[in-house]
Amino acid sequence: MTASSYREALRQAHREALARDPRVFLMGEDVGKYGGTYAVSKGLLEEFGPQRIRDTPLSELAFVGAGIGAALGGMRPIVEVMTVNFSLLALDPIVNTAAALRHMSGGQFHVPLVIRMATGAGRQLAAQHSHSLEGWYAHIPGIKVLAPATVEDARGMLWPALQDPDPVLMFEHALLYNLEQELPAGAGEVDIRRARIRRPGRDVTLVGYGGTLEKSLEAARILAQQGIEAEVIDLRVLRPLDDATLLESVRRTRRAVVVDEGWRSGSLAAEIMARIMEQAFYDLDAPVARVCSEEVPIPYAKHLEEAALPQPAKIVAAVQNLWGNR
């Protein structure tokens, strides 16, 4: 076991992928000389050279689209977009081309492309750098959506994502880059199909991912002091959702709270609640609840930002509510 940060784990994953497969290259804004907006790719330019670590102009549409073309041409590109907010300038190539190409071409072409980006709030960056739009992407058939929430997943998701024949989007919550956790020596590839139970419990299932995993675990620790044993599920894969793991847990605990940094209306949280309703309604002892971001563009001031986001206290309250402690 060695301690590693989420950032270092991602960097190591890139290093491994670049070394293992000559078709892999990284491109994006400031991934090279600057060392990456979140320093994920720091040092990689020196190690792998400018052909494989490509600084792009401020042209999200063009370099994401070029990533699709390069994937079609036999490469295995990793495209880094600075944040999910900026990925909106590349929605067209992602949704209209990458996601649709295989089906639209009758199975003739597929797009083995990985697009990574930061998501989420918590750094007082206000409304144009803080949103959690991964739920939108999880709406789109033809792409897969990953949300590594642990150092182990940061280390292990990239390689299998690159092995996937179809486009994979990886959402890295911006607050996780400094997360330090133990990483087993020789840590590598992880499964990218299943959700994981991060904390077993018998009384209620908390469903989180990305930035809400730590908050859910924190809530579970508080609840344990009150005698409520919460099970915490880390979705890990936002599309396709791993219903089996989710439902197995909810059927056991008979209660669920979904914790999602996206806004509640039309959210991933809503989708998860619907699936529980559709498939486990008669196993429930209480209506499924959720803790989402308030329906407001994420504000700048610290207290306002905190108030806008899911917090452990809100999760605890939502859980307590399931027993009618009003």
């Binding site: 102009p57 070029a66 639209m104 199909r193």
Partner: protein
């Protein structure tokens, strides 16, 4: 008195092949229009009638290993790239024998075998894709060209500017083929662009340019051969503007309120098939009988395709979800 037409500066056999190509597109498109009336073809249908010389001149200048990226007005490009009229027509019928098993339709023709990367219904959507294909070639040390077709309307999109910049900055072998037919749907170039000199736009990115009479298939072909060679030799992009004109409506839903019939008639005088045929006849390379025979062959080819499409089958609805993702072994 009219001057004698200029002789065709190409070998006769090639010249006749280019004529046959244009005839194939023309008859194919006319058949499509009729089939649309019969409701065999549905959805959006964009015909290439009037613009045939561009695809007919460029396609034979490309090598088999090159890649082609096109737009929703791409039936002609697909046919001349080597896709069978049967697979293209069946696709438009929505049949399983279609190149995309009925999932794409007229605007989304794809063919892996001939490196035909669509068929893109997003104006400008193909340009970044072409840049990436060329990047893959560059990074894998393959000496080949990606030809990217788009209308002049795409020049207003950010995708054009971002792609031009990236291709020039990274010196990628893309042959940008702008089919300037003067109208983007109903919007004339001068009504949408402050700078109507399209070559000047490309040149501002340091991309060399060519302006070509897109109604003259011989000129298009010669320019395309030169352009492809230049891209290969420099390893950098080139922008070719083919000045052409669409004789028909933008799509089947267009009442053409935005242009005069007289203007259309004037351009028809410069019709690519009509004029090229006249030149070939004037220099004694083509008789009326030979022309009729070429035309008959084109018509026959199209009839066969349409009959095959009619006889084709529907993809079972049970296969609806096929090919959303690449099949993989269960976990």
């Amino acid at each position: 008195m009219t001057a004698a037409p200029a002789p065709v500066p190409l070998p006769r056999e090639l010249a006749l092949r280019l004529l046959a190509s244009m005839l194939l597109i023309r008859r194919f498109e006319e058949r499509c229009a009729a089939l649309y009336g019969e409701q065999k073809i549905r959805g959006f249908l964009h015909l290439y009638i009037g613009e045939e010389a561009v695809a007919a001149g460029v396609m034979p200048a490309l090598a088999a290993e090159d890649a082609v990226v096109a737009t929703y007005r791409e039936h002609g490009h697909a046919l001349l790239r080597g896709m069978s009229p049967e697979s293209v027509m069946a696709e438009m019928f929505g049949k399983r024998e279609g190149c995309c098993r009925g999932r794409g339709g007229s605007m989304h023709l794809f063919d892996a075998a001939t490196r035909f990367y669509g068929g893109n219904a997003i104006v400008g959507g193909g340009l970044p894709l072409a840049v990436g294909l060329a990047l893959a070639d560059r990074m894998q040390g393959r000496e080949r060209v990606t030809a990217c077709f788009f209308g002049e309307g795409a020049v207003a999109e950010g995708a054009f500017h971002e792609s031009m910049n990236l291709a020039a900055l990274w010196r990628l072998p893309v042959l940008f083929c702008c089919e300037n037919n003067l109208y983007a749907m109903g919007t004339a170039l001068a009504r949408s662009e402050s700078q109507t000199d399209l070559c000047a736009k490309a040149a501002s990115y340091g991309v060399p340019t060519l302006r070509v009479d897109g109604m003259d298939v011989a000129a298009v072909h010669q320019a395309a051969v030169t352009a492809r060679q230049a891209v290969l030799e420099s390893g950098a992009p080139l922008f070719a503007e083919f000045q052409t004109y669409r004789f028909r409506a933008h799509s089947m839903f267009d009442p053409e309120l935005y242009r005069d019939k007289a203007e259309v008639e004037q351009w028809k005088q410069r019709g690519p098939i009509h004029n090229f045929t006249a030149r070939l006849k004037a220099q004694g390379w083509l008789s009326e009988e030979e022309f009729l025979e070429l035309d008959r062959q084109a018509g026959e080819r199209v009839e066969a395709a349409s009959a095959a499409a009619e006889a084709g089958e529907w993809e079972p609805a049970a296969d609806l979800l096929k090919d959303v993702y690449t099949p993989r072994e269960p976990a």
